[in-house]
């Protein structure tokens, strides 16, 4: 390992500009003549729009234009799309209602887009929005998934019972048989609380139209600018694909919420042509609460069958997934194919059957949020496993070990083929690091102080490196999920990598450069990573699902291999040797068995000056592209152990210890990986203890600011003990599994398992706020000090 190669804890190259305020985010871009957009949003959760009167508003100072859904329809601008087709059990396709970028006749959630006002200044746009008169016929609303299936409220005409699909996965008969021979059946009812994504940088869009060239440009906060361009052109029809440039510059966090193609971006690029001015919109924080796609929101009943020895025989899961008022870009895939195939976890479970109903409600759309389906699956499985162990009177670590998969590859009953792992190794290392054997001593010590101490496990798995295109295509995906890269070597030997992955905090400028430095022997400072611009990068599927390492870097590795192969040809001509005798090592092309060599930079120069070979023999230049389509998902897995102390008098839960042992395969930069683990745990703890999105019965979002929605802070978290085990991933050339979502997937179950252990009963809801825990603690038996 070199100081900057694979495995080195290189400091993030991009942080210099981020921490000195030199980052360039969408809102930092200002175009000549730019006007500002303000979206008039529905104050009602559900209403027919009888009329919109903008006459007075249009006459207000500075107003450039006011548009409604009628104007979009007149220009034949299509609705927003959901790119993953799900079929119900009965074979019928999902029932997706229309999703216009600006409401057409009806609003379906508080924050729904009614009109856009474009004015010289933002203040003028806001004032004019205030003056638009909308005559609403208010309709009854429904906000909870299970209730939406029973109510007379009808949100979309196409979806009776507000049900988009009734989907299932697995073998029902096999599960019924497993339950028939079970010694014990454990049941659990869970609510996976709805979350607001809260990236530090809110969404923003700046649309521009050049009448001279008929070109459109959209600066936007996107995790996948090429996907945005494809959807905006091919489906929504704002501009032809070759005439639309999408630029996603520095993006300050996304957690999934910036994958999707939203109304605001669509309207800004469309309106730029209408008003012949660049149009900018930057979300304020309350708009982000209202209109960013939310995460989670599942209501689940699960049952687990076990034998006398605590071996799992079968698992049955029924989930109602609240999808919100419209189907967001990947909304249908999250509670289905990103959820149920993970229900086998790390366990050898012979039979699994999962039913999921996807349901419309009068709430913000719900889509992928850090982990996307996998945290929901892990929460169900790890909660019920812990409960099953308790009911069997078994140590939860021992119960897990008894059921762990030991042989690979392992075919689960729910699609996935796990390729590699060593679950016992992670558990053993975690137990040691958590000082599990002395937990009882610590619990007694807490009890002496009147406190309840508990310990909780989460033995998670995730499917990352999303995804083999054929496989996801067969499951309903509208796109392939490969990645592309281009490696441009300059005549001076410096290297530019153009990648379809998009960094919005992951540190690609560092890790991707480490790969190049490692493979080509080029100093890391001579490598630049270019991403986020459809005019520069050939194509890309973007960053989500912990795919940038496993898929994005594999594409780069493939292009690097081609560069080396071409470099060998160039070197062979220069060194007057046969191509087969050229070896590439430590940044030098060498004639095998001799001291004749050409360093990488000289080879690059020779490739460009082309003096040593003719054009018939070899093309000049040194630039290669690659598309990499993975052959399987990757399966990062690990064990997180959370130890809490609950104060039964105040309900405050303090996390005393956090131990994480993860297997991410080969690691490029351990410092960045550890940072990802820390961030993921913090987000998962946020969900477990603090974050809860509340709509009241009438559909008003009453947690729409940081006054009412609590994010985790440093003092809510302990110092994490993070450890690794490594089984390289066999399905990609780098052996990478992915690490971006692990903490958020593992953490909620670990926290709630620890709290329920402390309380001595299972009845605590998430988020386990002091109020919820205090209520639960009133039902707990106070442990005796001498216990």
């Amino acid at each position: 390992m070199t100081a900057t190669g694979i495995g080195a804890p290189v400091r993030r190259k991009e942080d210099q500009r981020f921490v000195t305020g030199q980052g360039r985010y969408v809102d930092d871009f200002n175009r000549p003549g730019q006007a500002h957009a303000c979206f008039l949003r529905s104050p009602h959760a559900h209403a027919n729009i009888r009329s919109i009167n903008a006459t007075a508003a249009k006459a207000m100072p500075g107003v450039v234009g006011i548009f409604t859904g009628e104007d979009l329809a007149a220009d034949k601008i299509g609705g927003l799309i959901c790119g993953w087709m799900i079929h119900s059990k009965d074979g019928t396709p999902m029932k997706a209602g229309p999703h216009p970028a600006l409401a057409q006749g009806k609003v379906r959630y508080v924050g729904d887009h009614v009109a856009v006002v474009i004015a010289e200044t933002l203040a003028q746009a806001k004032d004019a929005a205030e003056a638009i008169e909308v005559d609403y016929e208010v309709l009854p609303a429904v906000v909870e998934g299970p209730e939406a299936q029973k109510t007379s409220v009808q949100i979309h005409d196409v979806a009776p019972d507000n049900t988009v699909f009734r989907w299932h996965l697995g073998d029902k008969a096999a599960v019924d048989q497993a339950f028939a021979k079970a010694a014990r059946v454990t049941t659990i009812d869970l609510v996976n609380n709805r979350l607001v994504p809260n990236p530090m940088e809110p969404r923003a869009a700046l649309g521009e139209y050049d009448p001279g060239t008929d070109n459109y440009t959209l600066y936007t906060t996107s995790q996948n600018p090429h996907v945005a361009r494809l959807v905006l052109s091919a489906f929504i029809g704002v501009a032809p694909e070759h005439k639309l440039r999408v630029i996603a510059p520095d993006v300050g966090g996304g957690f999934g919420s910036k994958i999707f193609i939203y109304a605001e971006e669509t309207v800004c690029v469309w309106a730029a042509k209408k008003v012949k001015r660049p149009v900018k919109w930057t979300s304020d924080r309350t708009e982000a609460f209202l209109a960013d796609a939310h995460g989670r929101d599942h209501v689940t009943h699960a049952e687990m069958a076990t034998d006398e020895d605590g071996r799992i025989l079968g698992l049955r899961v029924q989930t109602v997934a609240n999808l919100g008022a419209y189907l967001s870009t990947f909304a249908s895939s999250v509670p289905t194919y990103l959820y149920a195939p993970l229900l086998s976890g790390q366990y050898d479970i012979p039979a699994i059957y999962c039913e999921v109903d996807g349901v419309y409600t009068n709430t913000a759309p719900v889509d992928a949020y850090r982990g996307a389906g996998r945290p929901e699956a892990t929460f169900v499985l790890e909660r019920i496993v812990e409960k099953a162990a308790r009911e069997a009177g078994m140590d939860p670590a021992k119960f897990r070990k008894r059921n762990y998969i030991k042989k690979f590859p392992h075919q689960t009953p729910v699609i996935m083929t796990y390729d590699a792992g060593d679950y016992h190794a992670s558990m053993n290392k975690a137990l040691e690091a958590a000082d599990y054997k002395n937990f009882g001593k610590r619990r007694r010590e807490s009890a002496r102080r009147g406190k309840l101490r508990g310990i909780g496990f989460s033995s998670y798995i995730e499917a990352c490196g999303i995804a083999p295109s054929q496989a996801v295509g067969s499951l309903g995906a509208g796109v392939g999920l490969w990645e592309s890269a281009e490696v441009r070597v300059n005549p001076t030997g410096s290297v530019e990598v153009l990648t379809g992955s998009h960094s919005h905090g992951q540190g690609h400028e560092t890790t991707f450069a480490q790969l190049v430095s490692d493979r080509l022997g080029v100093p890391i400072e001579n490598v630049s990573i270019v991403h986020g611009d459809t005019d520069k990068v050939q194509f890309g599927m973007g960053t989500y699902g912990s795919r940038s390492g496993a898929v994005g870097m594999s594409a780069i590795a493939k292009a690097i291999d081609k560069v080396i192969a071409k470099g060998k040809k160039v070197a062979a001509h220069v060194l007057e040797a046969s191509e087969g005798d050229i070896e590439f090592k430590d940044g030098k092309f060498t004639v095998a068995g001799t001291d004749k060599s050409l360093d990488f930079a000289s080879t690059a120069l020779q490739a460009y000056i082309a003096h040593k070979f003719s054009g018939q023999e070899l093309e000049p230049g040194l630039k290669e592209g690659a598309f990499y389509d993975p052959t399987n998902f990757t399966f990062p897995a690990g064990v997180h152990i959370c130890e809490v102390e609950v104060d039964p008098d105040t309900g405050v839960t303090k996390i005393e210890r956090w131990t994480a042992v993860d297997d991410f395969g080969i690691i490029i930069n351990p410092m960045i990986v550890e940072g990802q683990v820390h961030g993921g745990i913090a987000q998962g703890v946020g969900q477990a203890l603090l974050e809860g999105t509340v709509y009241d019965k009438s559909g008003q979002l009453v947690t729409a600011s940081y006054m009412d929605y609590t994010m985790p802070r440093a003092n809510d978290l302990p110092s994490f003990q993070v450890g690794m085990t490594v089984t390289p991933c066999p399905s990609n050339p780098l052996g990478i599994k992915g690490c971006g979502e692990a903490g958020a997937i593992a953490a909620p179950a670990a926290v709630i398992n620890a709290i329920t252990d402390a309380l001595g009963h299972e009845d605590v809801v998430m988020p386990a706020t002091p109020q919820n825990v205090w209520r639960a603690a009133q039902r707990s038996r106070m442990p005796m000090a001498a216990e």
Binding site: P43, V702, M707
Partner: protein, 153 residues
């Protein structure tokens, strides 16, 4: 979101006078905090504009106020619906009952209202406190308008 509030207040005047004042737009206008316009548009209907502040949300609400269940001089239901632009909306009503009491008239009120939009998003936790404050202010003004000192002046 729903907002409810109940209370009663002792007013220093006889029931008939209280009833008359409750139906007098000029009295109401001078007593309702933040009211800018209150114009009688029919026997039981008023047009109103009021400035309201709930926490960080300040808005001018425009709407219609109607009186129903008229039972002079025992009580009525006053209801209204107002639009506050991007601040949201408010609608609801109050049942008002009058009865004789020692020293004057006891007025009991029972408010049930719905608010939505920004006022609910940002002001949710504050709304009951603000409503109570507005009510207290109204009844303080109203009691003052009925007091003998006020009439003498």
């Amino acid at each position: 979101m729903a907002m409810t509030m109940q209370g009663e207040v002792l007013l220093p005047a006889g029931r008939d006078r209280v009833w008359a004042a409750l139906n007098d737009p000029e009295v109401l206008k001078s007593c309702i905090p933040g009211v800018q316009e209150l114009e009688k548009t029919g026997d039981t209907e008023f047009r109103a504009t009021a400035k309201v502040a709930v926490g960080p949300v300040k808005a001018s609400f425009k709407g219609v106020v109607t009186l129903s269940d008229l039972d002079p001089p025992n009580g009525y239901t006053i209801s209204g619906e107002g639009q506050g632009g991007v601040a949201g909306f408010a609608k609801g009503g109050a049942k008002v009952r009058l009865e004789d009491a020692e020293g004057g008239t006891r007025l009991a009120y029972d408010v049930n209202a719905q608010v939505g939009g920004k006022i609910a998003q940002l002001g949710g936790r504050l709304i009951n406190g603000v409503a109570k404050k507005y009510a207290d202010e109204f009844f303080a003004n109203f009691a003052k308008s009925l007091s003998p000192a006020e009439n003498a002046a």
